[in-house]
Symmetry: C2
Subunit: 295 residues, 2 copies
């Protein structure tokens, strides 16, 4: 675990530096939207999605200059979704990672525009020649990211989520919600590492399967953390979702059932990586990290 912590921190540092360079400060009113983009995108969390992309691309000896660019694109999509999610019209969250959310630090209009601009910038980065010399690769990245982020992916999942609070879902329903809302971007992240690394279609399919299982495990652990706090403290309720009568994996499977299911998915997702041998250790470490994470 110690080794993995160092690895993910190192790639998070690369992403932080690159995001900072993609978003140079400006003066005047134009500078305000850039400041809001920076507020929403910099000093981020562990940068799990870029890590998955970079670690997958590393297996194919893809130059980091390329994979870090694509990692910034996925992180901009992730951060735009958080900015819009936090708006009063959506989840109405004043805090994000312990700091004021973008609409609190600026205002609602600026937060809407900053999210729009990050979303747009992600595609500008992917379409640019510096991301990969082969335009077919760049188009495939942009196409898959759009599919993962749009109405049949993340945005569709957020739409379902808004309505899921009002009625109870069965397990199939909650899995479908997860597959769209959080799964689609995680799926893209690992798959895109195979695409930008020009792996074979079989390699890309294995990475996709890995990420699908990982994404589901991620959401189950999220529900456990929401309900009980850190995993070793099972039984100590801290979360809000249960209060809101929202269907979660914990509610539907019970705490032990949910944890067993997450453990099973982590084993399965790692098995998909066997074809890559020891090169897959960082991605296997990411799976253990997802299972053991405390927040």
């Amino acid at each position: 675990m110690r080794d993995f912590d160092t690895t993910i921190r190192e790639t998070a540092g690369l992403i932080e530096t690159a995001l900072d360079q993609f978003l140079p400060r400006r003066s005047g009113p134009l500078g305000r939207v850039v400041d809001a983009m920076r507020h929403g995108a910099l000093d981020g969390g562990k940068r799990l999605r870029p890590f998955l992309l970079i670690a997958a691309a590393d297996m194919f000896d893809c130059p980091r200059t390329r994979s870090v660019r694509a990692g910034c694109a996925i992180e901009m999509i992730h951060c735009y979704s958080l900015i819009h999610d936090d708006l009063p019209a959506m989840d109405d969250s004043d805090l994000r990672r312990g700091r004021p959310s973008v609409h609190k630090a600026f205002d609602d209009a600026t937060a809407i525009l900053a999210g729009d601009a990050l979303l747009t910038e992600a595609f500008e980065i992917l379409a640019h020649r510096d991301t990969h010399p082969n335009a077919e690769v760049r188009c495939r990245l942009a196409l898959e990211l759009a599919r993962g982020a749009g109405k049949d992916g993340m945005v569709g999942g957020q739409m379902i989520d808004i309505y899921a609070e009002q009625k109870s879902f069965d397990l199939a329903g909650i899995e479908e919600l997860q597959r769209l809302k959080t799964g689609a971007l995680i799926r893209f992240s690992a798959m895109a590492g195979g695409v930008i690394g020009e792996g074979s279609e079989a390699d890309i399919a294995a990475l996709t399967s890995y990420a699908e299982d990982l994404g589901l495990a991620f959401q189950i652990v999220d529900d456990l953390l929401d309900a009980f706090g850190a995993a070793e403290e099972l039984g100590k309720p801290v979360g809000q979702d249960a209060d809101m009568d929202k269907a979660t994996f914990v509610k539907l499977l019970g705490a032990e059932g949910a944890r067993d299911q997450a453990r099973r998915l982590i084993e399965e997702c790692k098995a998909h990586l066997d074809r890559f041998g020891p090169r897959a250790e960082p991605l296997k470490g990411a799976a253990d990290f997802v299972f053991n994470r405390k927040n």
Copy 2:
């Protein structure tokens, strides 16, 4: 003019049909975001931006299947910007083209997500092989659209616009605002027709110059219509901008000065098309249409 009216109505019909096919109705909560996207994108206005793209591409005998797809992408960007602009946090407009705006017909959260999804879908369309067999062309379209729509284009212009209401701009300032807020997408539209038609770089540069002059004329006419209603009724105030102490071309140049300036720009933009000979008639018709439009 009669011929041009028929031409632009015909391409608007092609765009309407294609948008309808890109956004098939769905059931359940996912269907709600699609319904909101359809509300914001269908039954649209004259589809000027797609017209510019298609008419420019026609000059190079580009198959309509391709140019209509790219036209849908630009129209999705335009419509997403209207949906987000109309939100209470932005312009707070309850009506759009005589119908309830998306957030009134649905709710704010749905409008935010529908806008996000249209923005994302635009890039999905451009990145898809059906838009052009050459991936370099697709990437260039996506790159230029992102530049025109993002923080250094339309979104940046909207950010400036929010703050421009609070202080008065000089002519250079208002031209810069226009260049970003409405000009960047109009510029992209004509230029993209040259890119997708695989015109020469000189052809693309001429189309870009045409669109830059056209976009500025468009905004000046917009200000005139806001201030005085239809052009032949100069002197009859109907608009709101003057009340809000907002800098406009009319305020800075006077009504006659603004009209002269628009007329000059229309002549200049048409001159950029001389290299294309009679094939450029539809684009020249678009310029006259922009100057003579009544709404």
